[in-house]
């Protein structure tokens, strides 16, 4: 994976020192809270319900063992020995002391990490396909371009005070695992008919109060123009995006209000003026960065791994895990392994310091010291030899990271909600725990098949509820928590938004309602249909009718 050179390292250290001085000035009273707040936010530090929360960037989800070990250490020493993996592939620590921040930032900088731009109205951490660089279905490695975007967007002098936050997602595969159409800018690398590689550029996607699917504003952007084209989009947005109303300030509203065609013209016109300037990416620069992502030294292995059959036969737990957790690797004899951080009955995405340290060790043993954070709040080992799978599984069992629920109903996406978040209207984690408990039975989960349940504790939609096959939105109704259900959302290449189905439920009611919806689906599905496919065929109608009419 990418490693900092002296410049990247110096940059992060300078920034850490700058923030340390700001903390000192705050504590001495030179800065008031009003003055300090934007500065701490620009460094990822929020004040949440119980304490300060630090959001640490994991650039496009890539994490080394050394970094994971450091996160475990920081969480133990400066927090309460756990962290939370977010839907933006970052890690959050929930109990940070302001006075520890200078020290924490230095610790993080020592492993090339920081919280720069993890908050604020700027370009946030770039997210990407969690299998980037290793997926069998990948056209081109998106990490190279993510890295260009990361550098270009780091303290961008022109775009650090945008109308609102700005999120990028990038994939290099036709199978979208990065939800590119749910981002301010979504990029998909592909090869055109002439065999050239370029991007499809989607703009104006996003969830929150007014959800939109991103619009395709350019169907082929040669890779060398990536930065100039993005600069053109951002410049149009920075000048014209609404600043009068926080809820209308995202680029999706500008695109919507301007009209797709007119917006495209604005961007293309701006781009014409800058396209061949200093932002173009000549092949020699790309080659420099590509070299930093050189694949690890794979062994020459047979793809066929006979030992697995007997290990599966003798170990039902291993067998279940094998059924769910693997994804196809481009290299023979290797596989991608999904590691669930969403155990039955526990908060999705929470991981203890001990687990972080174990995972760091295991990645060194089994995956060239590299892993990924996924937008489903789980982890991925990118490069595991198939013949090591049984041994890896045994080691994961020991640290309670072997839940075999990848893509199944208990593998929910869930924001922190009212248990932690200052903006929340309702709790979301207890609901996730109850749902995974209700569907704990592995056979039943397999019978139900692929389904995504996403939940958020408020309209900001950090839990991506609109794009869940079943989405759950928590609201506050007269000081009690109420949950609204929506069906039919998808975050993949066939992206769609769910709509509210009907009256909401209380916490237990929503679990019962989901069980009913699943029963309805099992009853109505045709051979091999997923929940989403059945819903797409039939619409809300039968689900709504039977859910709300059934005697409860």
């Amino acid at each position: 994976m990418y490693q900092y050179d002296e410049y990247d390292q110096d940059f992060v250290e300078q920034r850490a020192r700058q923030f340390s001085r700001q903390v000192e000035r705050r504590i001495s009273g030179e800065l008031t809270e009003d003055q300090f707040k934007p500065l701490r936010l620009m460094n990822g530090l929020y004040l949440q319900l119980h304490a300060y929360m630090l959001r640490i960037n994991v650039p496009y989800g890539c994490l080394s063992s050394a970094q994971m070990r450091k996160l475990g250490h920081v969480a133990r020493l400066y927090d309460k020995s756990y962290g939370h993996l977010t839907t933006r592939q970052n890690m959050q620590l929930n109990w940070i002391r302001l006075t520890d921040m200078p020290q924490i930032l230095l610790e993080l900088a020592s492993v090339e990490m920081h919280g720069i731009q993890s908050s604020g109205n700027c370009i946030r951490n770039i997210t990407a396909d969690e299998y980037a660089g290793v997926a069998a279905d990948e056209v081109e490695d998106p990490r190279i371009y993510c890295e260009f975007l990361r550098q270009w967007s780091s303290l961008h002098p022109e775009f650090s005070f945008l109308p609102r936050k700005f999120k990028f997602a990038v994939t290099g595969s036709p199978n979208d695992r990065a939800a590119v159409k749910a981002h301010d800018i979504g990029l998909r690398l592909y090869r055109n008919d002439q065999g050239e590689v370029g991007f499809e550029v989607f703009v104006g996607g996003g969830l929150g109060r007014t959800p939109f699917i991103g619009k395709l504003i350019r169907d082929f952007l040669p890779t060398e123009h990536l930065l100039s084209y993005c600069e053109a989009i951002l410049r149009v947005y920075n000048q014209l995006g609404r600043r009068d109303n926080k809820y209308k300030a995202r680029i999706k509203v500008l695109v919507h209000e301007t009209g797709e065609e007119a917006f495209r013209e604005l961007v293309e016109k701006e781009w014409e003026a800058i396209r061949d300037g200093t932002l173009s990416l000549p092949e020699e620069d790309v080659a420099l960065i590509r070299a930093r992502f050189a694949p690890p030294k794979y062994e020459d292995l047979e793809d066929d791994t006979p030992s697995l059959e007997s290990q599966r036969a003798e170990n039902p737990g291993f067998n279940d895990w094998m059924d769910q957790q693997l994804a196809e690797h481009k290299q023979a004899g290797y596989t991608i392994v999904n590691i669930s951080c969403t155990p039955i009955g526990k908060p999705p995405g929470d991981i203890s310091s001990e687990q972080m340290e174990s995972v760091a060790d295991l990645a060194e043993t089994y995956s060239f010291g590299e892993m990924r954070v996924t937008h489903n709040q789980n982890l991925v080992f990118t490069d595991v030899r198939k013949k090591d799978l049984f041994s890896l599984w045994q080691d994961l069992v020991k640290v309670e990271l072997a839940t075999p629920n990848h893509g199944l109903i208990s593998d929910t996406i869930c924001c922190p909600g009212l248990d932690y978040c200052a903006l929340a209207n309702a709790r979301s984690i207890p609901l996730a725990e109850k749902i995974s408990t209700a569907f704990a039975d592995q056979e039943r989960q397999k019978e139900i098949g692929e389904i995504y349940i996403n939940m958020s504790g408020c309209i900001n939609a950090c839990g991506h509820h609109h794009v869940g096959n079943i989405g759950i939105l928590g609201v506050d109704k007269k000081n009690t928590e109420l949950y609204q259900l929506m069906l039919g959302g998808s975050a993949k290449e066939d992206a769609s938004l769910g709509k509210i189905l009907g009256p909401g439920f209380d916490e237990d009611g929503v679990v019962t309602a989901i069980e009913k919806l699943i029963d309805i689906y099992l009853d109505l599905r045709k051979d091999g249909e997923t929940f989403l496919e059945t819903h797409r065929r039939l619409g809300d109608g039968p689900f709504k009718e039977r859910l709300y009419s059934a005697p409860s």
Binding site: Y7, R15, Q22, P38, S160
Partner: protein, 171 residues
Amino acid sequence: MARLRKDFTVPLLKNGKITEDAFTRVTGETDFPSTGALIVDLTSWQEHRSELLGRADPIGIELAAGESPSEIADDLGNLSLVALDFPAFSDGRAFSSARLLRERYHFKGEVRAVGDVLLEQLHFMSRVGFDSFVLDSEDPVQEWLIAQDDLNLWYQPTEDGRITVRQKRRG
């Protein structure tokens, strides 16, 4: 952390040094002094263009945050200064305006930041082409001078002449 005041009194931080301000700001007025460097708003400029051009002394225009430099592009040759307003420090439109002035329209005069600006924004501002800042008279000038050197590594090419990380890597 300072706020830049709109009445251009003292002190003026220009090209990294505290400098005397030669300009007087006259906005919303029609009675222009016959001598002395002036800054007028866009409307005054549009209404009294020929009168203002007839004066011998330097002239500058102040653009509000929503006003695009393209509106004065043809006049830039006659201007010594463009002031860009920040109605709030979080309103970053003027960052784009400054770059357009420098990079699109090749304006060589002074580009001045006015309004609500954080000291922490100073390094962003110098990169997009601002070269002068009006400090509040109570500001700790020393801190503004220090803040100029908070960071000295840049990933983004602008036309401010600073070497970017990409250029350093190429050697």
